[in-house]
Symmetry: C2
Subunit: 256 residues, 2 copies
DNA sequence: CTATAGCCTTGACCTATGTCAAAGCGGAGA
DNA sequence: TCTCCGCTTTGACATAGGTCAAGGCTATAG
């Protein structure tokens, strides 16, 4: 896959300008945001979006570029509008844990203290909305429904994190890979894309660091699943799932 | 340790009645809540606490008793006032991941959908405040600072969950145990207790299910740390840390 | 069209941790 | 104070997954 070809992994089509008053600082209207329904802007009315547009800055970063690093002062929060990112934590000796993959509609940068708790890096060319922390706080004060939405999103993230703990602590390599593929598939659907085939914008190393495995084990497990007829590896780092029910049973350790 | 002896693990002393108007349904005044500063009630003024007292129900459960099970309709949220609980998720074949240990001041039961995402069980006799979900929502609507506090607490939980992912995915058994002990020590301090010795109200099996290890490995690793002079195992399931700096370095994989 | 650099896959071997089994031991109740 | 019972510890052995080491593809750049 071309590292810069965003469309391969996010295919919602271009934003259709509707000539609303609300415009971001770089000119894109929030009212035309293709992923608004997924973001924390969802509960706002079009009139209120103007307030958002006033404080938002739109930015685009190329594949492989870091957005921020763990420990850096947390001055901004971000919302992914297009592309794909990974967030991760490091141990002093370089061991890495990818704590999440982010796609359009996902939120990042919320920190409970003054600095980011993890690093964030684009895996393909990625577009984001950026909010100053204090400006966002003002916004949350004015629009309580936005704060409620954010709390709801955080609760969801928490549930996802607990699932990931179960995966990391108690699942086998095969169960981890099966769970991972299903997670990506479901998220594609949530973004309005088809559940199958599944796009993998991340490397085997990234997948390993997300699942608590090595590159080699990830690769071997993909091969096993392919040999067993569970999946097919397509060109462009895509995976076709033969029987999602079977994969789901595999993911929960219920054999096949 | 006596399974019912709460004081062993939580020693803030008895609540001192201050004769405030705010009282819980079982008579205990919220104004005298010994852990109020730690809970989501913290930002409320005494006058506002009366509202909380009106909808709260105080309850006490014995060691080993479940509070709720994963998948059950999430009708209530809870705040631990005294004692210790564990929350966990199960795989169909019985494999278990303990996703957290809860002590006084901790919040549980927040669900982003209609049912609980995990099971909760008391490890020692435990007291909790219970809130009906809809009543709590009304409260959050009236007191936005409470909702902000809840968002802040959720962000903190999220950061803790990411640390736990790093632990589960990338740390060795020795690093996991060291991290675990430090976490308990710090939380004791946050609750106003001494950092050392550390009380372990949970079984070796619980610790293993929290750290992604078996009982045997947990036990062997404690023995190793004891032999290395890092810790001492005291009576009553307590652990004395010889040098917390050394343990901290161990926890991050920086040798000793 | 061809070269090239970076993934990805595969193989052989190793080890941290799991599994199975059997003693210790401490605390709750009599 | 004594007696169990359940948890913890320890030992011997097994294995999933890690490590080290070659190749093999594939997609961009020239």
């Amino acid at each position: 896959m071309s590292a810069f070809d965003v469309s391969r992994i996010h295919d919602l089509g271009a934003a259709i300008p509707r000539d609303l008053n609300a415009r971001t600082s770089s000119g894109a209207p929030c009212g035309a945001c293709p992923v608004r329904g997924l973001t924390f802007c969802a509960p706002l009315e079009e009139r209120e979006l103007a307030e958002v547009a006033r404080i938002v800055k739109h930015l685009t970063i190329p594949a492989g570029q870091p957005l921020f690093d763990e420990g850096e002062p947390a001055r901004h929060v971000f919302s992914v509008t297009e592309g794909a990112m990974k967030v991760y934590k490091l141990l002093p000796d370089g061991r890495r844990q990818v704590t999440g993959f982010l796609f359009s509609g996902d939120f990042l940068g919320l920190a409970h203290n003054e600095s980011y708790a993890y690093s964030a890096e684009a895996m393909v060319g990625t577009s984001l909305c950026r909010f100053g922390r204090s400006e966002l706080e003002g916004l949350l004060e004015r629009f309580p429904q936005m704060e409620r939405r954010l709390l709801h999103m955080a609760s969801h993230e928490l549930a996802v994190a607990q699932d990931q703990m179960l995966l990391l602590g108690r699942k086998t390599a095969k169960e981890k890979i099966a769970s991972f593929l299903l997670m990506l598939s479901r998220r594609q659907e949530l973004r309005g894309q088809s559940a199958n085939p599944i796009a993998l914008p991340m490397s085997r190393t990234d997948i390993g660091d997300y699942l608590g495995l090595t590159t080699e084990t990830v690769s071997r497990t993909f091969t096993q699943l392919k040999t067993a007829g569970e999946i097919a590896l397509l060109s462009g780092n895509r995976v076709e799932v033969a029987d999602s029910g079977g994969l789901a049973r595999l993911a929960e350790g219920e054999g096949l």
